[in-house]
């Protein structure tokens, strides 16, 4: 039994995947700039991707902010630095936790929904039907989702940031004995524009990843219900991993000084 054969096969499969994804990406991005653009569908997808993700993103951001405040208070307490809670909460939320947690939640919700919908259209030949009706499926299905995700993710994260900071504020003032005025003043004094803006850049990138992985996996799903299930799982897993990896690289680029 040659142990190199399966390793080599896995490696070539990976290379083929990357190649297919790159070709898909090139086709999608070039389609974004060529008419027709389906404005109505972009609006519809903005509602589905952005607006309907608000409760999920808001709730997770709120509890994350609250837990962050508690942890920093308890950790800071060890060497008498518990007053630093507002500064660390706002920094942690806007730079890291806001975009990453929103990205992961939206990946679970939206990448899965996109992959399942497009995957079902693939296996029931609806995508082929689009082609026979002289409608480019990339432009009709993929481009609106991609644009909607890239535009709405920063808005979602901006709202999520505010709710996250509010979560920290409520926990701090209600159970940790911070005074409301001092907490808000420390938050606003410490926060810089670039903290928030860097998080919004990340959010746009995560939106791109989410829509791309949902559409790519859906488009390439095979077989019946099982194939669509596999595509959905792959979409969420690959989107989540790519979000975390991209977060690291974006952090190192955005804060390289």
């Amino acid at each position: 039994m040659n142990i190199f054969a399966p390793v080599g096969r896995a490696f070539f499969t990976l290379l083929a995947q990357i190649g297919r994804l790159t070709m898909f990406l090139v086709e999608v991005v070039s389609s974004c700039f060529r008419p027709p653009i389906y404005w109505y569908h972009i609006g519809q997808q903005m509602m589905r991707i952005g607006y309907f993700s608000l409760p999920v993103v808001g709730l997770t951001a709120f509890f994350t902010g609250g837990a962050l405040a508690l942890q920093i208070y308890l950790g800071g307490n060890r060497y008498g630095a518990e007053a630093i809670v507002p500064q660390i909460v706002v920094l942690g939320i806007t730079r890291e936790l806001g975009p990453v947690i929103a990205g992961l939640m939206v990946a679970g919700r939206v990448a899965a929904a996109i992959a399942a919908e497009i995957g079902t259209m693939r296996v029931t030949e609806q995508i082929d039907a689009l082609t026979t009706l002289a409608t480019n499926p990339i432009k009709y299905l993929v481009v609106p989702r991609l644009i909607a995700a890239v535009v709405t993710m920063p808005i979602l994260v901006a709202i999520g940031d505010s709710i996250g900071v509010m979560g920290g504020y409520i926990v701090s003032t209600q159970s940790l004995g911070f005074s409301s005025g001092i907490y808000l003043k420390n938050t606003l004094d410490f926060m810089k524009n670039e903290d928030v803006i860097s998080g919004l850049y990340k959010a746009a990138a995560f939106g791109f990843i989410i829509a791309l992985m949902g559409c790519y996996n859906g488009f390439n799903s095979k077989g019946g219900a099982q194939g669509v299930g596999a595509a959905t799982t792959n979409a969420v897993v690959t989107a989540s991993i790519l979000i975390l990896a991209a977060n690291y690289f974006l952090t190192s680029i955005l804060f390289a000084k």
Binding site: T124, Q126, A129, T131, L133, A134
Partner: protein
């Protein structure tokens, strides 16, 4: 001699190591109804998808109205696709749209027609396949299989295409509904004067809608001729297939 409506010359297609089409030569003349028969997995659907440009053949040439379409893309492809209508095996209706929006889809998206005018045409085409105005605002999932096929047929003929493809039009229907769909196909085709290519393994359907029959086996056309000669083809493969016998020269690959 007239230009054939569709011509395939030596079309080959493989998926990985599996050769699906091994040099298909096929001519369909204007106004003719050709039915391609063959077992499951012999490449019938792949043939149709190659003509439509959904799949690209590895070798060979495809002509539509004498114009080579094998490798065209973008606008040129869209222009050719406007000549086609297609009825899919599972109807392939868009489940996010209503019945009339499905029928009008090619008119609105493909040709930029206004919604009101497209809706009128959709209602007229739906009436042609025997569906009344009570279904136009339903969603496809609320319809039975036979009704979905009818809507699919209405969508295929909505833009009065020159060429209509039927992919297993009677699969999954009871024999009576299958016959109704066959009659509708014959009637609607006569009505719009279209050239048709159908693929099926239902011999009753093939006999009803075909002018000519071609049989596909192992990626090649092994026999073709007028429908009247199918019973005297002298070809043991064709005989085995049309009589549905397990014994004969065709060995089913039970293990794919």
């Amino acid at each position: 001699m007239t230009t054939p409506k569709i011509e395939l010359r030596g079309v080959k297609k493989r998926f990985g190591p599996k050769v699906v089409l091994d040099g298909i030569d096929l001519v369909i003349n204007p106004g003719e109804s050709l039915v391609v028969i063959g077992g499951s997995g012999t490449g019938k659907s792949v043939t149709i998808k190659c003509v439509l440009g959904i799949l690209r053949p590895d070798e060979g040439k495809i002509f539509v109205d004498g114009e080579e379409v094998t490798h065209i893309n973008g606008r040129a492809r869209d222009k050719v696709l406007r000549k086609f209508g297609m009825l899919f095996q599972g109807a392939a209706l868009f489940d996010s749209l209503t019945v009339w929006e499905n029928v009008a889809f090619g008119l609105i998206q493909g040709r930029g027609m206004g919604r009101r005018q497209a809706r009128d045409i959709a209602v007229e085409k739906l009436a042609k396949v025997g569906l009344g105005s009570e279904v136009i605002n339903l969603s496809p999932s609320e319809l039975s299989g036979g009704m979905q096929k009818r809507v699919g047929l209405a969508r295929a003929i909505a833009a009065d295409p020159d060429i209509i493809f039927f992919d297993e039009p009677t699969t999954g229907l009871d024999p009576i509904m299958a016959d109704i769909i066959n009659d509708l196909i014959v009637d609607t085709v006569k009505d719009v004067g279209a050239t048709t290519l159908s693929i099926t393994h239902d011999m009753a359907s093939a006999r009803k809608i075909a002018d000519r029959i071609a049989m596909l086996y192992k990626g090649k056309i092994i026999w073709h001729g007028p429908v009247s000669e199918i019973d005297n083809s002298g070809n043991p493969y064709v005989d085995q297939f049309i009589h549905g016998r397990a014994e004969g020269p065709i060995k089913m690959e039970v293990r794919g």
